[in-house]
Symmetry: C2
Subunit: 337 residues, 2 copies
DNA sequence: CTGAAAGCGCTAACAC
DNA sequence: GTGTTAGCGCTTTCAG
């Protein structure tokens, strides 16, 4: 559909090689006059190089894949936006792939992306701890950057949040406010992120010489209803004065239960979440939470990937982002009770 | 990187033609034995066809482009998910492109997608009423499906929400509850969607024999702060008893102002929004609103596009989705005041 | 039922 | 400075 490099060459009375040289700016050895002639023709006939043909010979497509669990999960749009913006800056396009954490879909996407010769892939793994296929992928030579969910392996590169630090500062904030009986609603404890946040909680307690009471810890599912159930359990004569929920959705579930029980937030019970999703600042009592720099994480992952693709030295194999405590209205000092 | 059709052909002692036939299931004329031999080899060596080479000759890439303003706008992730799911069902991959409603970026993406030979493009236009480039694109022959934002043109195909109906049922709901003094916070009135929602409001009033009071109508910007300003204006001795905000973000802005003024929702002022974004059901007083079937719209757009690509008869050129009234807690009958 | 040959549109040695 | 040639990996006539 349209004019090819041959057409331009014929009209300019030059070879395709020469045309190729100028459209790729490898025009060291092209006279200014033929250069201009070609450029004029290109503009006049709106010549657009066929990326398939080009890719077939160069083995580069200026295309990357982004594989995530689910773009409609509020955690991912900002990441995706960061990735796409960076990619776009470097002239790359991005394939969006939603896996629903399904390993089969994950493999299918990997195959499709390989067939389409993407230059690299950014990955947020399924939380299931199974990733031989990823390791194989990396060994096959295609640049891969992991995001958010870590893999134990020497040759992994990636962008992660310091979840331990996040759990730590969330809990420390509560401790600094005078709380001693701090409940913890964790995510599923077979995932690294959940474990780390929980470890952060434990470390903060330890540093403050507070003994861990396991009955204050409830494992949940990162969902709202899970947060509700967990809060019901914690409220059952545990006498806790505060809760650290390992994500905002669960914090919101807890929030609803607490308010339904006629407790006041933060006077009766302080609560801190994790993620800083949009709703957190829209609640009646705005949620104190731990913010992840999602956009930056996406943007950094894409930059890193493209550096790898273009053979630049990638200094840091692992970039660790620091979470940030956002103090809002759902926490207060215990002596204000 | 890896084994090609030639390798398979050599190992099977057949021509590449034959291999091509079996991997593309055009194997009418291939004996069962060679067929099996080839399939075994394909599996053994994990042969993956090179999509670039294939696309170069077939002019088809099993790839579509999705051009939207901004994936981090909560309205779009569900749409994108619908698009991607449908595409995936048919074996297509999707390029994600964020334009920020910038016409220049829009054109750049169109060019890039054409160079990469996408089979079709799904579009949510910038709201600026300028779209010659889209019309050109369509004339160039590449299948295009519009989404959400309409263009006046015979040969347009697309998927839209019946925004007039949406404005109508929102307003009618208020009228049915006994309200007569109904404020309206519109979006920017140079966009078709905004105009239509506003027209729906007017039509509902007219059908109920309520005279339109223009002082009850405030044009705003679809953003939260715009909703706040508009609400402040409406609250200034207009004596309205209810507000129809043309999206949830503005409704939320109004909500905050109303509560800040110590009015009660819905007893003093009823409010209905539009979109049903996640936060609407998370507010202290859950928001009555108009829901758009975003996922379905995306999924339908992709199906439509792929049907066009694959030459199937597309019965409906325009699919109009009906909005749905979601009654929650922010509206009540006027006599309960 | 199978293969030979041409060609998609481009880039990359290499030669002049 | 510029052109010739080969070839990327595949599909598609056309012939047998």
């Amino acid at each position: 559909m349209g004019v090819t490099i041959k057409d331009i060459a014929r009209m300019a009375n030059v070879s395709t090689t020469t045309v190729s040289r100028v459209i790729n700016n490898k025009s060291e050895g092209v006279s200014e006059s033929t250069r201009k002639k070609i450029l004029d023709l290109v503009k006049e006939f709106n010549y657009q190089p066929n990326a398939l043909a080009r890719g077939l010979v160069t083995k580069k497509t200026k295309t990357i894949g982004l594989i995530i669990p689910d773009i409609s999960n509020p955690f991912f749009p900002d990441i995706a936006r960061g990735v796409e913006d960076s990619a776009n800056d470097y002239g790359y396009n991005v394939f969006l792939c939603n896996t629903d954490e399904d390993l089969h879909k994950e493999s299918e996407y990997i195959n499709a992306l390989k067939e389409k010769y993407v230059d690299g892939i950014i990955f947020t793994l399924a939380s299931i701890p199974k990733y031989e296929h990823i390791l194989d992928l990396i060994k096959s030579g295609i640049p891969v950057v992991m995001m958010d969910r870590f893999i134990e392996s020497k040759d992994i590169k990636g962008v992660f949040l310091d979840n331990l630090e996040g759990g730590y500062i969330a809990t420390k904030h509560l401790i600094d406010l005078g709380h001693r009986k701090i409940g913890c609603i964790t995510g599923p404890l077979h995932t690294k992120t959940s474990i780390e946040r929980y470890e952060g909680y434990q470390k903060a307690l330890m540093d403050a010489n507070i003994t861990l009471d396991k009955s204050f810890v409830v494992e949940s599912n990162y969902k709202m209803d899970g947060g509700m159930k967990a809060a019901e359990e914690l409220l059952r004569e545990k006498k806790i004065t505060s809760i650290f929920a390992c994500n905002d959705l669960m914090a919101y579930g807890a929030y609803k239960v607490i308010k339904a029980c006629e407790y006041k937030i933060p006077q009766d019970i302080s609560i801190v979440g994790f993620d800083d999703i949009l709703i957190s600042q829209m609640l009646e009592t705005q949620l104190t939470t731990i913010k992840q720099p999602t956009y930056d994480m996406g943007a950094t992952a894409a930059k890193m990937l493209i550096d790898m693709i273009e053979g630049k030295k990638v200094r840091k194999k692992i970039v660790s982002f620091k979470p940030q405590l956002i103090i809002r209205q759902s926490t207060c000092a215990i002596d204000r009770r």
